[in-house]
């Protein structure tokens, strides 16, 4: 029997194989959204916990990776909704992306602050589309929305950011 079919039937060994195969990919997806490596590890386990609980609903004819990414996006979105410090400027370069020294700390903080004020569903789309430059169809699939909705959210995120930055005296 195929691995995905065995997983769908709840076999733990099949789940372990899939976990080991996809944990890096799921972690990578989550860390791009929450931008916090240690939170992303915890959320990766939470994602697979939800995956395991939902094994009976998984269709083995479909892509496990895409399904896992969609659940991971929901988990990351829940985290963004429940906390207020996820999309922050990393203070420790070893723990986060390296920042451009050409942009002053003050300006970075203002941009991050404006970004955090965006509605969470716009934040997720903006971080994936504008910062991580993920393809729109991939974002649409991960969020379970249409391609048009992704474009619309990107447009709204840019417009709102523009307005917020303008109010803080930053003209792009």
């Amino acid at each position: 029997m195929e691995l995905l079919e065995r997983f769908a039937q709840g076999e733990l060994e099949a789940f372990e194989t899939l976990f080991r195969q996809f944990q890096g990919e799921v972690y990578g997806w989550i860390v791009r959204i929450v931008r916090d490596p240690s939170a992303a590890e915890e959320l990766t386990v939470e994602t697979f916990w939800r995956i395991y609980r939902s094994h009976a609903r998984f269709d083995p004819a479909r892509s496990f990776g895409a399904w896992a990414r969609r659940i991971a996006t929901n988990v990351a979105l829940d985290r963004l909704k429940s906390t207020r410090r996820e999309v922050t400027l990393a203070s420790d370069p070893s723990q986060g992306p390296i920042q451009d020294p050409a942009v002053g700390r003050d300006v970075r903080e203002k941009i991050a602050s404006a970004f955090r004020q965006l509605p969470r569903r716009l934040q997720v789309v903006a971080v994936l589309a504008l910062i991580e430059e993920r393809p729109y169809p991939e974002i649409a699939e991960a969020l379970g929305i249409s391609l048009g909705a992704v474009k619309s959210r990107v447009f709204r995120a840019v417009r709102q950011l523009q307005e917020k930055l303008k109010r803080q005296g930053i003209e792009p």
């Binding site: 990578g28 791009r32 992303a40 999309v87 400027l89 920042q99 942009v103 970075r108």
Partner: protein, 73 residues
Amino acid sequence: MKKNNGQEIRELLKRAMPPVMNPELGRDLWPEMLHRLEARAPRVPWFDWALVAALLLWCLLFPKSIPVLLYHL
């Protein structure tokens, strides 16, 4: 909104909050996953154990009733 402005916002965002380059998981998370699976494994309720104990006691006290019990299973 002008297209250029959108592009400029994108550049500004990326300079302030750079993309996460090649995120790699530093360790295997399976032990944590397994721990969580075991912690949440369904437990047999106490009254189920009590029922089993009562049944065994019944069989010990009234061994002739075993065939009747088996018939009803």
